[in-house]
Symmetry: C2
Subunit: 291 residues, 2 copies
C-alpha cells in the first residue's frame, strides 16, 4: 500500500516479506530489551488520537513502534528510518503484531517524502542526541506538522546516570561513554535540554516529564533488562574507542565494567538513569502574526 | 501534656509559649521553602494509620511535621530534634496549625527517652546523610519500633543533581558542596544507598521510590522555591569553607554561583535533583529465629 501523502520520491516503503538475516540482530535485541524495560515508564501515557496521522521519525528496529501503535487504535502511523535493515526489522515486528495502520519506510530525515502539514503528531525518540543541530531538525520536522499539531520527543541523558557502589573505575567507564559519543558530534546529555530546544524550534506550550529508571535488588527485572542487558552492553560498545583514545587502560576498563555490572547484579547494587519526555505544539498562527 | 510512653528522662517536651527570636529564622525559612516546594512530591502518599504511634526523628524546625500530621488524622505523632531552638520553632508551627496529637521534644537520637517497641512507625528525613554510621542509627531506631512496624526514610542525593546550562564553574560550585559536606563526615549522596542501608539494618520488604524534582521555565514555582530559594542558598552556605580549602578562587566561585542561578531563572534553564523515599518493615520474628 502506498501511503497517500507520500510525495512519491525520496523514500521507499519496506515491501511485504522483506527480511534481514544476522545483521544487527544482537543490537536489535539490545534496543528491544531497553524498550521493553523502560517502555511502560516512558509510554504508559502515550496515546495518539483516533483518526490522527502520526509520523514516527527514526524508528530504528521498531522497538517502540508496536507499543505506540497498539496504544493508539485508530491512529494511522508512518514510521521511517534511514537504515534500510533497521526499517526492515521494524516492518517485520509491525506485521508480526498484526498492526494494519502502520507503514514503515526507508528515508532520510532531511529528505522526508511527505507533503508539508501532513501530520497531526510527530514522534521523535533517541535521535536528537545524535544530531549536530537538533533545533534545525525540529524546525524541519515542524514543516510536516499541521498548525496546532503536536511533537513528542523522548531522549535520554547520560549525565543523569549514577549508581552504587560508585567506584572510581565504574564512574570512569561511564564517562568514557559520554566522551566517545561526544566525539561523534552528538550530545548524550540532551534530555535536560529538551525544554529550551523545543522552545527554540518555535513550539508552544512545551512541557517536559522526566522518567527516571531506578533499579535495586527488589526490582530484578529492571536490573536484568535495563542495567545488565542495555546499559552494560552500551558501555562495552565504546571499549575499543576508549582504549584507543587512551582514556583508560584495559586493566582499568575491565575493573570498571566489573564494578558497573555489580551495580545491577549485587544485592546492594542500585542504578539510576533518567529519560526525558517532552511535548510541544506547533503554533496555529504564523510566527510574527499580529493576530 | 506528658507523652505517656516517655521514660521520663533524657528529653524535654517544648513547653507551651516557648519562642525563639532571630536565631535560625532565615535557615528555618530556607528549610520551609524546600519542604513547601518538594512537599507534595515527597509526601503526597505519606499517611500514617489512624491510631498508630509515630516517631519523627530529627524534625528540625517542623518543616514536614505539619504536613505528615495533617495527612494522618488519628495518628499520634512524637517529633524530636536535638537542637532546642529548632524543636521550639517546630512546636510553634504545630500549635499554629491547631494539631492536637503532635508532641515536640528536645532529645538526642542515641538517648531517646522512649521505651522499646513504643512506636508503630518511625519517620526519618534528611538525617542519615549527616551521620557517620547510618546503619547503626537505623538499628538503634529499630529497637523503638514494634515488630512488624515500619520505618520511612527520606534523603536527598547530591550526586543526582544536574542542570542546563552546565558550565564548568557551576559544576564546580556544586562539587564544592559535596566536598565540604563530606569533610563533615556525612554522605550527601546517600539517597541511592537507602535500599542496601535498610537491608543492612535488618528491615524487611525494603522498597524505594525516587522522587525527582525537575524545574524549567514552565514551572516557575519550582524554579523559585526549589532552585533559587533552596539550592542556591545551600551552595552559597559552603562558600567560605570552599574558598578556605582552596577548592575555587572567589572569582571562579562568583561565576559558578551566577551560572547556577541561571539554571533556575533564565528562560532556557533547567534543573534536576532527586530525593529518595524508602520504607522497611521490622521483622516480626527475631533474627535467627527458626520459625
Amino acid at each position: 500500500m502506498i501511503v497517500p501523502w507520500l510525495k512519491g520520491e525520496g523514500g521507499a516503503e519496506v515491501p511485504e516479506g522483506a527480511y534481514v538475516h544476522g545483521y544487527g540482530e544482537r543490537e536489535a535485541q539490545r534496543l528491544l530489551d531497553q524498550a521493553d524495560s523502560v517502555m511502560d515508564l516512558v509510554h504508559r501515557d502515550t496515546e495518539f488520537p483516533s483518526g490522527s496521522m502520526v509520523l514516527e521519525v527514526g524508528c530504528g528496529v521498531g522497538a517502540q513502534t508496536v507499543t505506540i501503535a497498539s496504544q493508539s487504535p485508530g491512529a494511522r502511523i508512518v514510521s521511517f528510518d534511514k537504515a534500510h535493515n533497521s526499517a526492515t526489522l521494524a516492518a517485520q515486528r509491525v506485521r508480526a503484531a498484526g498492526l494494519q495502520d502502520v507503514h514503515v519506510l526507508t528515508c532520510d530525515l532531511f529528505a522526508a517524502p511527505f507533503e508539508p502539514k501532513s501530520f497531526d503528531c510527530i514522534f521523535v525518540s533517541y535521535l536528537l542526541e545524535h544530531l549536530p543541530d537538533p533545533v534545525g531538525a525540529l524546525v524541519s520536522l515542524s514543516t510536516l506538522l499541521r498548525p496546532g499539531g503536536e511533537v513528542l520527543v523522548v531522549e535520554g541523558d547520560h549525565g543523569s546516570c549514577y549508581f552504587h557502589p560508585s567506584t572510581p573505575e565504574a564512574v570512569r567507564v561511564w564517562k568514557c561513554l559520554i566522551q566517545v559519543q561526544s566525539e561523534l558530534g552528538g550530545d548524550s546529555q540532551i534530555g535536560r535540554r529538551l525544554h529550551p530546544l523545543l522552545n527554540a524550534a518555535g513550539f508552544e506550550d512545551v512541557r517536559v516529564s522526566p522518567r527516571m529508571v531506578y533499579a535495586d535488588s527488589s526490582r530484578p527485572r529492571v536490573q536484568d533488562q535495563f542495567v545488565m542487558k542495555t546499559i552494560v552492553p552500551m558501555v562495552e560498545g565504546v571499549r575499543d574507542q576508549a582504549l584507543a583514545d587512551g582514556l583508560m587502560s584495559s586493566t582499568e576498563w575491565d575493573t570498571g565494567i566489573g564494578d558497573l555490572k555489580s551495580t545491577g547484579s549485587d544485592p546492594e547494587g542500585t542504578f539510576c538513569y533518567t529519560f526525558f519526555k517532552a511535548w510541544g505544539r506547533k503554533p496555529t498562527k504564523p510566527l510574527g502574526s499580529a493576530f
